[in-house]
């Protein structure tokens, strides 16, 4: 038995680890075990990738099977890391259609969580771009799924948190890019209303995201920096910084946090100081386009190796909700207000606009999503329960890939596709056979 956690380091459960070194191992592993779920790189935050009894490590399925350099179509095994794929495709002028906030996720995990990126308002989630995948079912059978073949299984598996089987490999098409740079424009928003307006206004941009200073109170509640960006063209490069190499060199040294910081490192004062600095640094560059390399634009936190350790040994809770557009201004203001009044701060608050999602358990719906981090504490649980009520009443939901604690009632209220998802699970004999701590906790 191995103690396992997600990226938030809460909760911790002991689980037996078994490893699939090859797709050929899966049929027998699936057929002969029960109470398991597949785990990629363990970057979901809560208990989604911890098997009820057994956790099936899929990182050995890490071969890129095909990469068509003309069309940009790739076929990869599910355990391939996004970072690995980026290293291969970016220098050749391609970029994945959707990337989440970290590149240290597996492709299988990206499908299972139907991850969204800073371009969701325009391009949808990762699942919308997956053309086909093969799936090992609970009885060990291997089936192909696409919009035309086993469509119910296809839709359920996208965002299905690994609960319909183990994804073996998937095919999708990359987008061509001319350079490895982003042409970024930062806008300053002095409060939440302005921030949401700025996000709506920048919806013509391929990528947009707002960083919210959640310690700002009163009239400044929700003051934000909005980062809008496009993949820079060769023309952009010439115009903004002539002579720049087309692809920025890969960053070498990574800063690692080698030990858990004492929990009190993050107090109101330190976060407040950090936020102030960050805000000012951003504001200096505001409103004129400039170039940033793709890596820090998409994955700013990846440069700090184990940033999850800054919250100390007890771990942290990440709360990501989405609220439909109509209710978003009022509900998100209320959430930010409650957070900003708290003594213990949220290090990270991110606001994004989302379009509709398509999987049975996909997170996105048309509206705004807000992401907060809170160190684990009794008061944090109580506060988040209150926030959940606000979200659910407004017709919103919580992101399963981040969740470690929502109640079954909150979950059921947020996910009307659950009944359909359960039908699909029933049809393939998944109940009792494929189960994670998340699925047991939420009664999936």
């Amino acid at each position: 038995m191995t103690p396992l956690t997600g990226w938030g380091r809460y909760p911790r459960h002991a689980s037996e680890l078994i490893t699939a070194a090859s797709p050929a191992d899966l049929p027998s592993l699936m057929a002969s075990n029960s109470g398991f779920v597949a785990r990629g790189n363990g970057r979901s935050y809560g208990d989604a990738a911890i098997g009820e009894r057994i956790t099936l490590c899929a990182r050995g399925l890490n071969r890129i099977r095909a990469f068509d350099r003309a069309s940009g179509r790739v076929r990869v095994e599910a355990g391939v890391l996004l970072s690995d794929l980026l290293d291969v495709v970016v220098p050749r002028g391609f970029f994945p259609p959707v990337v989440p906030g970290t590149k240290f996720v597996t492709i299988g995990g990206m499908i299972a969580a139907d991850v969204h990126g800073k371009n969701h308002h325009r391009d949808g989630g990762f699942g919308d771009h997956v053309e086909a995948f093969t799936l090992a079912l609970p009885d060990g059978r291997v089936v192909s799924c696409s919009r035309g073949e086993n469509p119910e299984l296809f839709t359920a598996t996208i965002g299905g948190m690994g609960l319909t089987g183990t994804i073996i490999e998937a095919a999708f098409t990359l987008r061509p890019i001319e350079t490895g740079w982003m042409r970024q424009t930062i806008h300053v928003a002095s409060d939440l209303e302005e921030a949401m307006k700025a996000l709506r206004d920048s919806s013509a941009s391929t990528y947009s995201v707002a960083w919210v200073d959640c310690l700002a109170r009163g009239k400044a509640l929700g003051r934000s920096l909005i980062f809008a960006a496009e993949h820079a063209t060769l023309h952009d490069l010439d115009a903004l910084r002539p002579g720049t190499p087309t692809f920025p060199s890969a960053k070498l040294g990574r800063l690692l946090i080698p030990f858990d910081l004492p929990s009190l490192t993050l107090n109101r004062l330190s976060v407040s100081a950090f936020n102030e600095l960050y805000f000012r640094a951003g504001a200096v560059k505001a409103d004129y386009p400039h170039l940033v390399p793709w890596d820090p634009y998409f994955f700013p936190l990846d440069s700090i190796g184990n940033w999850n350790r800054i919250y100390g040994r007890c771990g942290f809770l990440q709360h990501q909700c989405v609220v439909p557009t109509d209710h978003a201004p009022a509900v998100l203001a209320e959430i930010l207000d409650r957070i900003s009044r708290r003594g213990t701060p949220s290090f990270l608050a991110v606001l994004k606009q989302l379009g509709p999602g398509h999987g049975d358990l996909s997170f996105p719906l048309e509206g705004f999503t807000l992401t907060l981090d809170l160190p684990v504490s009794d008061s944090a649980f109580a506060l988040l329960d209150d926030l959940d009520r606000l979200v659910v009443e407004a017709g919103g939901r919580l992101y399963l890939a981040k969740d470690a604690r929502q109640s079954p009632a909150t979950f059921e209220a947020g996910y009307p596709g659950l009944a359909r998802f359960k039908d699909v699970r029933q049809a393939i004999g998944a109940p009792g056979k494929i189960s994670s701590h998340l699925s047991t906790r939420l009664g999936i």
Binding site: P23, A66, V88
Partner: protein
């Protein structure tokens, strides 16, 4: 410049995969040989996708020594460099009482690789070019109770490579002996390994490329610390050594 060709024997191992990938990144064409050609195909496709190199996969069982000549004849290209990473750690305790298992270890780790590289050496000699890399083991440096059948076979392989190098050096053909030490692979998954003495497969691949193609060393330990460690182990006097638990 014409494309050079690598023959990688043991194409499903982690070290084999990493080595072939390194060569492909340097612009080489790769021929992967393995008993399980389906698994080798996975690695072949992966290397081709990552590098754009031409990769072919060929079935070879290192125990079927009589097939070696026809195997080499049927290859689409004559290799410029041949790297043999074949190895089977096996089960020492089982090998002590099961002669079949002992024979499997001796043949897989010594007989097969030596015979195959021997045939290749004659061909390289005929055309007066080529490089040969054999992945042996620190276990062959001195026999120890915990793995002496594997160690004995690797010691034989080390001696074979040493002799071959001695004979072929004047003809301009490189022979490299690699002793990787601990490597983080499927074979060692779950073992507790000392970090300073444990290499990643990529490090082994890079060390092989550097030694064979850039002339960096004839007998290489991938992690440098292994050299003094094995030196010390070799110099322990036998009356003392035989009492140690190693």
């Amino acid at each position: 410049m014409t494309t050079r060709t690598l023959l990688l024997i043991g194409g499903t191992s982690d070290i084999g995969r990493a080595t072939a990938l390194r060569y492909a990144q340097e612009g080489w064409r790769v021929m992967l040989a393995a008993r399980n050609d389906e698994e080798a195909q996975r690695n072949g496709e992966d290397i081709a996708a990552r590098t754009g190199a031409e990769v072919t996969v060929h079935r070879l069982d290192i125990l079927e020594t009589e097939s070696f000549t026809s195997f080499l004849d049927k290859l689409p290209h004559q290799p410029d460099t041949a790297v043999c990473v074949v190895g089977e750690l096996g089960d020492q305790v089982r090998a002590q009482s099961d002669p079949d298992h002992a024979r499997l270890l001796l043949r897989t780790n010594f007989e097969g690789p030596a015979l195959l590289l021997g045939i290749l050496a004659e061909r390289f000699l005929e055309r007066r070019s080529g490089a040969i890399v054999g992945v042996s083991s620190v276990a062959g440096d001195r026999g120890r109770a915990s793995n002496y059948l594997y160690g004995a076979a690797k010691a034989g392989f080390t001696a074979f490579l040493s002799g071959l190098r001695n004979r072929l050096a004047p003809e301009g053909i490189r022979v490299v002996t690699v002793k990787p030490g601990f490597v983080r692979t499927q074979m060692t998954a779950g073992m507790k390994l000392p970090p300073l003495l444990t290499a990643e497969p990529q490090e082994v691949g890079a060390a092989i490329y550097e030694a064979a193609e850039r002339g960096r060393g004839d007998v290489i330990y991938v992690r440098r610390l292994w050299r003094p460690v094995m030196m010390a182990i070799r110099f322990i006097p036998e009356p003392l050594f035989k009492r140690l638990k190693l």
